[in-house]
């Protein structure tokens, strides 16, 4: 515990609380805002771990674009009004929580019984932007191009899927 800084602990706790809030709050927009806080918390966790470009990209993409997109869709699908849903789900939905708790227990057991609990490992070299750019262009240029194609396809697909159909709005 001594090796983990207080900043990391605070960020981790804030992120976990925000994630729990995102999944349990009643109003949809509250959930979306808590999700934005969770994303920002994860972004600052990346920054504290030394991945500067990735942390800022997470803030830009997730908080600045995806959270806003989710909020927009919530508003467009009239989800802003609170639905009278019981907070503690009865019946079938409880299995979801049981499954999730089981998986958490399994993962925690795996973490505690692995090498992670014993060894520290040497710190990685800082990933400067220049190095990331070189690696992207030299080693990972094919995934980069495929990523470009995929983003274009997703853009066109999203626009086409969400477009208003001309005839059946009478």
């Amino acid at each position: 515990m001594r090796q983990m800084s207080a900043a990391f602990l605070i960020l981790a706790i804030v992120t976990m609380i925000a994630a729990c809030a995102a999944m349990t709050l009643r109003g949809l927009v509250h959930c979306a805002l808590a999700l934005a806080v969770a994303f920002a918390g994860i972004g600052t966790l990346y920054l504290s771990l030394g991945a500067q470009f990735l942390g800022l990209a997470q803030l830009l993409v997730y908080v600045g674009a995806i959270a806003v997109l989710i909020v927009f869709v919530i508003l467009l699908t009239r989800g802003g009004e609170s639905d009278a849903r019981p907070l503690i789900p009865t019946g079938l939905p409880i299995t979801g929580i049981v499954v999730a708790t089981t998986i958490l227990a399994l993962l925690a057991w795996a973490v505690f019984h692995s090498f992670a609990i014993h060894s520290l490992g040497p710190p990685a070299s800082p990933a400067t932007v220049r190095e990331l750019g070189t690696v992207l262009m030299a080693d990972y240029v094919l995934p980069l191009e495929v990523m470009g194609l995929m983003l274009t396809a997703a853009l066109i697909g999203a626009v086409v899927v969400a477009m208003k159909e001309k005839q059946d709005t009478q």
Binding site: A19, T95, I103
Partner: protein, 103 residues
């Protein structure tokens, strides 16, 4: 409790919370929120192993995280467009009302 174990526990918790939400909530958008949380938890895993792992000098973890963020952005956009289209057709985003309907 090394920093690596701490990071892995945080990411496991986020994954479990996202999974619980995705399986439990009735609104489609919140299922997508849970899926995004799970993706972020996996990304955190990558960055934790890049930082505290045994392979120094390789920025593979960060590159993978970057690609994962791009894929998640595309998937969120398409998923939300689908939710909009379904809402326009069925006038609801409640999964319990949408399941089993002949679309």
């Amino acid at each position: 409790m090394t920093p690596l174990a701490g990071c892995l526990l945080v990411s496991s918790t986020l994954f479990a919370v996202g999974l619980a939400g995705a399986l439990t909530r009735r609104n489609t958008i919140l299922v997508l929120v849970g899926i995004e949380l799970m993706l972020n938890a996996a990304n955190l895993n990558f960055v934790a192993f890049w930082r505290f792992g045994h392979h120094t000098g390789m920025s593979t973890g960060v590159i993978f995280g970057l690609f994962s963020i791009a894929v998640a952005a595309a998937e969120a956009a398409v998923g939300l467009a689908l939710i909009l289209a379904v809402y326009r057709h069925a006038k609801t985003t409640d999964l319990s009302l949408l399941t089993g309907r002949a679309q």
